[in-house]
């Protein structure tokens, strides 16, 4: 086992230990009510489904709706509303549904509900699973066939995402403002109250088919400001605060009566280098420049100084737990400024009068675009990287976009060399990120700005096509690792910086909470309050 892998596993174990019930005889409080401070009320009406709105909130959606297949804490598949599934050929999966399940409105859960939900997903665009009109076919009341609109063997790994949560048929008929008051799923909690911009309250579902939730009620309070969430925790107004800012986490940990819990890695920060840019954004086309960039960034320093140790150095971008043994296929790049200088020297980039390298009269000056999903999350990485790259003779001009719309526009125009992004893994498909961002076959169904700017080309695309068509999970992980190795080690198009944790603050009274690396898939059934 490599030191790197050992370090990653240690971090996972530490996070898990920190999250489990502390030793000692804790007794449950009489009142099992939890108040959770979450982010802004992102309620949005999907014009077709309505329920998608709630799934964006993360926690609350997961309490109300359930998916056919669940995503475990190490990204493994677990039975949900489907008890088993098999690939029956011709791009079709057959799922056997759980019996004896009822929606919160008393309606029985059958294949008709799956068809109703999937037809609406199709109308809303189909998502990554490529659900089309008529993709879901009822075989009998408890058996359903799902055939994606395009060849896609990854369906089962994809439908763990909460946007594929099953909705009670014929709900959400009303206008937007009424819709959120009636989300009806099969989950362990059911909706009691939704007050726009203020709170969403759920109560335990006594008829839940699985382990009964220990909490009687959860109040999710919308608090857009992260500092306010932490202050709410410190004032005991809330028991739980999500997305604790990394600058506060360590201090909060020292506060009596408080705990800080960190999830296993499920998110990443990375730099993508444009290899298909147009003038003047063409320097990333040169492999030597990309390799030098990759070697000149001290990732450990970023983890320490930017992420305040709420992250690990990650060389894979994909959460390491997803790749298993195959993680070792991705070597990553060490911090080696001397090697970076050597590579640039060999490529003919010579130091200019101000220390910035030049070749053929052109300065080695790059534009770093920062703004996805927002600029704040990266601060002060751009400045730190700017200093590190200057050490090897690369000039970086930082462009902070005011919001994600501006970032997307910038990306669409391809006006930048380096693109700093943070993202997360919310399904069980290890090829999700490489497929989503770097597949670039011309005319492909999912052709988007990322593939056009960063796509490595046919060799990579063939690996992704294997990902899409192999039914062997081990082969899938291996190919995903090979695709990442191509992006990171061979082509140096992606410079993974850090694998980051969800940081959560909670009162010591909160027990049984197991943080999920994918915040959207966080479950609350096992949580309870001690005296």
């Amino acid at each position: 086992m490599t030191d790197k892998l050992r370090g990653m596993l240690a971090a996972v174990v530490v996070a898990a230990l920190a999250a489990t019930v502390p030793a000692g005889a804790q007794t449950p409080a009489a009142k099992q009510e939890l108040v959770v401070a979450i982010g802004a009320d992102t309620y949005r009406l999907d014009r077709v489904r309505g329920d998608v709105a709630l799934s964006r909130v993360g926690g609350p959606a997961k309490t109300i709706f359930e998916t056919l297949v669940r995503l475990g804490r190490t990204y493994q598949l677990e039975p949900g509303l489907a008890t088993s599934w098999e690939f029956v050929g011709r791009n079709t999966w057959r799922l056997t549904l759980r019996r004896g399940v009822r929606f919160h409105n008393g309606q029985p859960f059958t294949a008709a509900a799956v068809k109703w939900t999937f037809d609406r997903i199709a109308q809303a665009g189909g998502g990554t699973a490529a659900i089309g009109e008529g993709s879901a076919k009822i075989v009998d009341d408890f058996t359903v066939d799902i055939t994606p609109a395009t060849p896609n063997v990854r369906l089962i790994e994809q439908i763990v995402h909460p946007t594929y949560g099953i909705v009670a048929p014929n709900t959400f008929p009303g206008p937007a403002t009424e819709a959120a008051s009636r989300p009806t799923g099969t989950g362990p909690f059911r909706l009691v109250e939704y007050v726009r911009g203020n709170r969403l309250v759920v109560e335990g579902n006594p008829d839940y088919w699985g382990a009964k939730p220990r909490l009687q009620r959860i109040t999710f309070r919308f608090m857009p400001d992260a500092n306010t969430r932490v202050l709410g925790l410190r004032s005991r107004e809330v028991d739980f605060a999500v997305a604790v800012p990394r600058e506060i986490a360590n201090e909060l940990e020292r506060t009596p009566g408080m705990r800080v819990v960190r999830s296993p890695v499920g998110q990443y920060e990375a730099v993508y280098i444009a290899i298909h840019g147009r003038e003047p954004y063409v320097l990333g086309r040169e492999k030597a420049v990309r390799q030098a960039l990759s070697l000149a960034i001290d990732k450990a320093a970023v983890v320490r100084n930017v992420w305040q140790n709420n992250a690990i150095v990650s060389q894979t971008m994909i959460p390491p737990s997803m790749l298993g043994e195959h993680t070792r296929i991705v070597k990553g790049t060490p911090y080696d400024p001397a090697a970076a200088r050597r590579i640039l020297d060999e490529a003919g980039w010579r130091s200019g009068p101000d220390g910035i390298r030049e070749k053929g009269g052109r300065r080695l000056s790059l534009v770093m675009v920062v703004g996805f999903p927002n600029a704040e999350i990266h601060r002060p990485f751009p400045e730190l990287a700017q200093g590190m790259l200057r050490q090897v003779g690369i000039e970086v001009r930082i462009l902070i976009t005011p919001d994600v719309s501006s970032y997307e526009t910038q990306l669409g125009k391809g006006e930048g060399d380096l693109w700093v992004e943070a993202g997360n893994q919310n399904d069980a498909n290890p090829c999700f990120l490489p497929d989503l961002l770097f597949y670039s076959k011309p005319g492909a169904r999912q052709e988007n700005e990322y593939g056009l700017l960063f796509g490595p080309g046919p060799v990579f695309d063939r690996l992704i096509e294997v990902c899409r068509t192999t039914a062997d999970p081990e082969r899938l992980r291996e190919v995903a690792a090979q695709a990442m190795a191509l992006l990171i080690d061979q082509e140096a198009i992606v410079v993974p910086i850090a694998g980051t944790f969800n940081v959560l603050g909670l009162s010591e009274r909160v027990q049984g909470f197991l943080p999920h690396p994918s915040g959207l898939n966080q479950g609350w059934e096992a949580v309870w309050i001690s005296n």
Partner: protein, 314 residues
């Protein structure tokens, strides 16, 4: 008086036309594509170029700018401000739902600012260069310099975390209103205190005040009956502008206190390029400002008899 009010309300039309055109132009120039944002929010995958183009066409965003503006104007004239791209709600309804929370905190903080600043400003002017005046000027300087988000955190730390007297955030009870109102009031009160002081000092030097004193009226009587009323005109102007601003939402304070007002909603709409909401908000803000200014003008008439005569003649 009524024709004057009628004329002022008629003035609304060109003002609103002007600002709506400006806002429309700025939206068109700003980077970002609403169709792309909607699709990003709806799906777990970045949308394809084709999907973005299709939605742009559905939303009418592919039409030329003048045509889009004229269509919007036509609908707005019928009272239809369109639907929010993000939430699907009618814009008018979305704004109306959030306005009461904004109005609560705007009115409460304005009244509070007035209650603090008026006596302090008067006292400071009357006791010019006395220790109380110096203290009041220092307070005004400090109050005006404090960023509202910083003040908000300090107040939460003191009254919610430390003393546990008031809720950290939220909306619904009188207790929830206290901290956001105080946060907004303190900054405003500082400015108004200085304004009251300087305006009153100027009025105290006027001939009619000297005459009142020569008639043997007491100090309180001179200030309360003669000097204060005309001295309030600049204060009322500043108060009107401030109220107009607050009624248009206070995004930072709303964010910190999780106050479900119009400010945060509109800022999010700007981030997501939700054009119908932005347009509706600009129109709404224009109306609020014009009406508040009208109210301020009417208050002038009540405060200063000379203005009454001019308004009557006009």
């Amino acid at each position: 008086m009524l024709p004057y009010i009628g004329r002022r309300i008629l003035n609304l039309v060109p003002v609103l036309l002007g600002i709506s055109l400006l806002a429309f132009s700025l939206s068109a120039l700003a980077p970002g594509d609403p169709a792309l944002r909607i699709l990003r929010l709806q799906s777990d995958a970045p949308p394809t170029r084709a999907a973005v183009q299709k939605l742009r066409a559905e939303l009418g965003l592919d039409a030329p700018f003048p045509l889009r503006y004229l269509r919007w104007l036509q609908d707005a004239a019928r009272g239809d401000l369109g639907e929010s791209y993000r939430t699907g709600e009618p814009v008018l309804r979305a704004l109306a739902l959030r306005f009461p929370a904004t109005a609560q905190v705007a009115v409460a903080s304005t009244l509070l600012a007035l209650v603090i600043s008026l006596p302090l400003g008067v006292f400071s002017a009357v006791r010019r260069n006395a220790p109380v005046d110096h203290a009041s000027r220092i307070w005004a300087l400090v109050g005006a310099s404090m960023p509202s988000f910083w003040l908000a955190y300090v107040l939460i730390l003191m009254f919610s975390v430390g003393l546990r007297l008031l809720p950290v955030a939220g909306h619904g009870t009188l207790a929830h209103l206290v901290l956001p109102s105080v946060t907004l009031a303190l900054g405003g009160a500082a400015t108004l205190t200085r304004l009251t002081r300087s305006s009153l000092l100027e009025t105290l030097g006027e001939d009619f005040v000297r005459t009142a004193r020569a008639k043997g009226l007491g100090s309180f009587s001179v200030i309360a009956r003669h000097a204060l009323q005309p001295g309030l005109i600049p204060v009322v102007t500043a108060l009107g502008i401030r109220l107009g601003h607050l009624l248009a939402g206070a995004a930072i304070v709303e964010t910190v206190f999780a106050w479900p007002g119009i400010g945060k909603f509109v800022v999010d709409s700007i981030y997501d390029r939700d054009y119908p909401v932005i347009q509706g908000f600009v129109l709404f803000t224009g109306i609020v400002f014009v009406l508040v200014n009208l109210l301020v003008d009417l208050l002038y008439v009540w405060i200063d008899p000379r203005i009454r005569i001019e308004a009557g003649r006009g």
